[in-house]
């Protein structure tokens, strides 16, 4: 087990008035528990505003969680608690082992630096290769590893296409030989024909470098394709969680079912979008509904749903769901 998150909560204060007092909160993450195991891909799927990107940024310490805590276990089973009080050595170790690939290829590379400098930065910070040519050799290896020509090292980001830039981001992520990479919608800004190239590259790297992925996406088909376990999120909480096979083929939570039905089926003979009947609009995260966040739009909601927030219940040891339809 690499990383364990227990009841993670993240509220962003809304600042108002002349002295910027806090006038309310954007409740991005309400209640999230997860486990990321060795050499496993945990897929996080949900629509915009469900908090999946915020979760990714809490894990990589871009944001610090309002509540709950993260526990990181090193290969030699030494567990350290990741929060403000983390000591410098553990933090540096965590930074090496946990990397991230971002969504927008056009803003995840510093336009003022050459590709070589971009890949050199992580190596210099962690002093991986003290002498120069050994380091440059490694950079050339990284570039060919992600399917780019080593000569690209002297060129600038604006000279590359979206797909090529994403490969550079991936090269930067694997430079420190991390144990896990948080992939925040790595392919949603790319063209269809280029997407599958990047997905294949990620899978190939995962096998050869024995890494774990925390794969975030709004595309359920993609998450099913690449993940070993799937977590479905809605408005800051986990609705359903389990192995990819269980969640995809035995979707139990009404939201997951609607999500499955809403995905266009590439077959003009069986058009199924007509059968989707989901009412209303997603509520705003500033004042989410009481009880289960999905109750305002759930076709099967009943009075208890609007009162109490359901907790994750185990349907079997590969599948659990947070919904009052499944009481013991």
């Amino acid at each position: 087990m690499i990383l364990k998150g227990t009841n993670i909560k993240k509220y962003f204060p809304i600042r108002k008035g002349v002295f910027l007092q806090t006038a309310g909160y954007v409740k991005a993450l309400e209640q999230v528990d997860f486990e990321l195991n060795e050499h496993e891909t945990l897929g996080v799927v949900g629509e915009s505003g469900c908090g999946k990107t915020t979760l990714g940024r809490v894990i990589t310490l871009i944001y610090s969680a309002t509540k709950g805590h993260l526990a990181y276990t090193t290969p030699d089973h030494h567990t350290s608690h990741i929060d403000k009080t983390i000591n410098k050595h553990d933090l540096k170790r965590y930074r090496r082992d946990m990397q991230m690939v971002f969504q927008d290829p056009f803003s995840s590379l510093d336009p003022r630096m050459t590709i070589g400098d971009i890949l050199r930065e992580p190596l210099d910070i962690h002093q991986i290769y003290p002498n120069r040519n050994e380091r440059d050799e490694y950079i050339e290896y990284l570039l060919s590893r992600v399917g780019l020509y080593p000569e690209y090292a002297i060129r600038y980001p604006h000279e590359f296409s979206g797909g090529q830039r994403q490969r550079i981001s991936i090269a930067r992520a694997i430079a420190l030989k991390p144990r896990a990479i948080v992939c925040d919608e790595p392919t949603s800004a790319l063209d269809v024909s280029v997407q599958s190239q990047i997905i294949n590259l990620l899978q190939e790297l995962k096998e050869q470098e024995r890494m774990a992925y925390f794969f975030i996406s709004h595309d359920l088909d993609l998450v099913h394709h690449i993940s070993d376990r799937i977590m479905v999120m809605y408005l800051g909480s986990v609705m359903e969680e389990g192995s990819a096979y269980e969640v995809f083929n035995h979707a139990s939570h009404p939201y997951t079912r609607v999500l499955m039905k809403s995905i266009p089926h590439w077959d003009p003979k069986q058009r199924k979008l007509g059968s989707v009947h989901l009412k209303g609009e997603p509520p705003s995260p500033i004042n989410p509904p009481k009880g289960c966040p999905f109750n305002t739009r759930c076709p099967k909601a009943y009075d208890r749903c609007a009162r109490e927030m359901p907790t994750l219940k185990r349907l079997n040891n590969h599948h659990s769901v947070a919904c009052w339809l499944y009481t013991d």
């Binding site: 930074r95 803003s107 510093d110 003022r112 930065e121 992580p122 060129r155 600038y156 420190l176």
Partner: protein
């Protein structure tokens, strides 16, 4: 600015015709003040009692319709019997050819070595002078004074802007990057200071400089005073840029790989605002030059014996002065020329460096 962005910028800049005109004028102006002592025919300080308020000397080329080359007549000074106004009459007999590389008053070239060679002049005569821009109240050569005065006007603005941009960039970057209460206090302070009218505040600050200071320290004092207001505008806009850059994914990526905050600011944030800093400096130099001229014009800025274009204009304050000696306004034209060129260059730079209008148009 490595790689072909430099090429793209140079190409875009030269498409901007006004920008080129601006650059050329500025180069000429700065060369002018660099060689001011050599170019000026007279020492800007020495007075000539019998040439007070003399008109700009007319240069003639033909003597009884024969081309002779540039020469000047001697001047006799007489008083108009009715109005008692001083009048200068050309004395046709006395002919003084204008020569180049002529010997004049001695000066220390760049303070290094003594010489008395001037680019042009008619030599020392007590009944003739070569005042291209005419003489002032004490009969000093306005042309020489404009050259020497340019040194103060064109450098005060430059140094003042440099200081303002450096302070503004640092304060703006920290206030934008760290946010929280630092940001709030800095922004409130700037808001208050900006609500003061600029020139009166400059005047009040200029009054802080003790009159006993020698003119050179007063010059530095004025530069500090000028930059005191300038830095706030720069800080406000740099803060805006840093706030948006801070959310950019390559900055987040730097955090994820463990980069220190300080290194993020110096390696990622500052290089990406450099292009903007160049634009804002060129655009705030005009404000500084105008500021210095205004303070000196009111006598609170540069002190005698030093001079600047603003101070030169001080003699042209009342209507009667202007009507009788309009040439006293010539230094004003130089101010406009310099400020205009900086505006042209700044505008062209902004279009070349920052086509997406990150800089608010002014």
């Amino acid at each position: 600015m490595k790689g072909n962005t430099a090429v793209r910028v140079r190409k875009a800049f030269f498409k901007h015709k006004l920008g080129i005109v601006g650059i050329i004028i500025l180069i000429l102006l700065y060369l002018m003040i660099l060689f001011a002592d050599f170019l000026a025919p007279y020492n800007y300080k020495n007075t000539k009692r019998d040439f007070t308020f003399s008109e700009p000397t007319k240069i003639h080329w033909r003597k009884d319709d024969k081309f002779v080359g540039p020469f000047v007549y001697g001047m006799t000074r007489s008083r108009d019997p009715v109005t008692f106004a001083v009048k200068y009459v050309e004395d046709q007999e006395k002919v003084y050819p204008v020569k180049f590389f002529v010997r004049g008053e001695t000066y220390k070239f760049w303070g290094l070595w003594e010489t008395d060679v001037h680019l042009f002049g008619i030599g020392q005569h007590d009944d003739a002078v070569l005042y291209l821009f005419g003489g002032d109240r004490f009969g000093r050569d306005l042309f020489s004074r404009v050259l020497i005065g340019g040194r103060v006007s064109l450098t005060a603005g430059l140094i003042g802007t440099f200081i303002a941009v450096v302070i503004g960039a640092i304060v703006g970057a920290f206030s934008g990057y760290f946010g929280g209460w630092i940001d709030v206090t800095i922004q409130r302070l700037i808001e208050i200071l900006r609500s003061f009218p600029r020139i009166p505040l400059w005047l009040a600050l200029a009054m802080l400089l003790p009159p006993t200071w020698p003119s050179t320290t007063v010059y530095l004092g004025i530069v500090i005073v000028l930059s005191f207001i300038g830095w706030m505008g720069v800080a406000r806009v740099i803060r805006g840029m840093v706030l948006s850059l801070r959310e950019k994914e390559y900055v987040l990526a730097a955090q994820v790989i463990g980069q220190s905050n300080f290194k993020i600011i110096t390696k990622h944030l500052i290089p990406n605002t450099i292009t903007y800093l160049v634009v804002v400096s060129t655009l705030s130099i005009p404000g500084m030059i105008l500021g210095e001229s205004s303070i000196s014009f009111l006598g609170l800025g540069i002190k005698e014996p030093m001079t600047s274009w603003g101070l030169l204009l001080k003699q042209a304050q009342s209507l009667s002065d202007i009507q009788s000696h309009p040439w006293l306004m010539i230094p004003g034209l130089f101010i406009i020329l310099a400020v205009l060129s900086f505006n042209f260059v700044g505008d062209a730079l902004r279009d070349a460096l920052d086509p997406y209008r990150a800089v608010d148009k002014v």
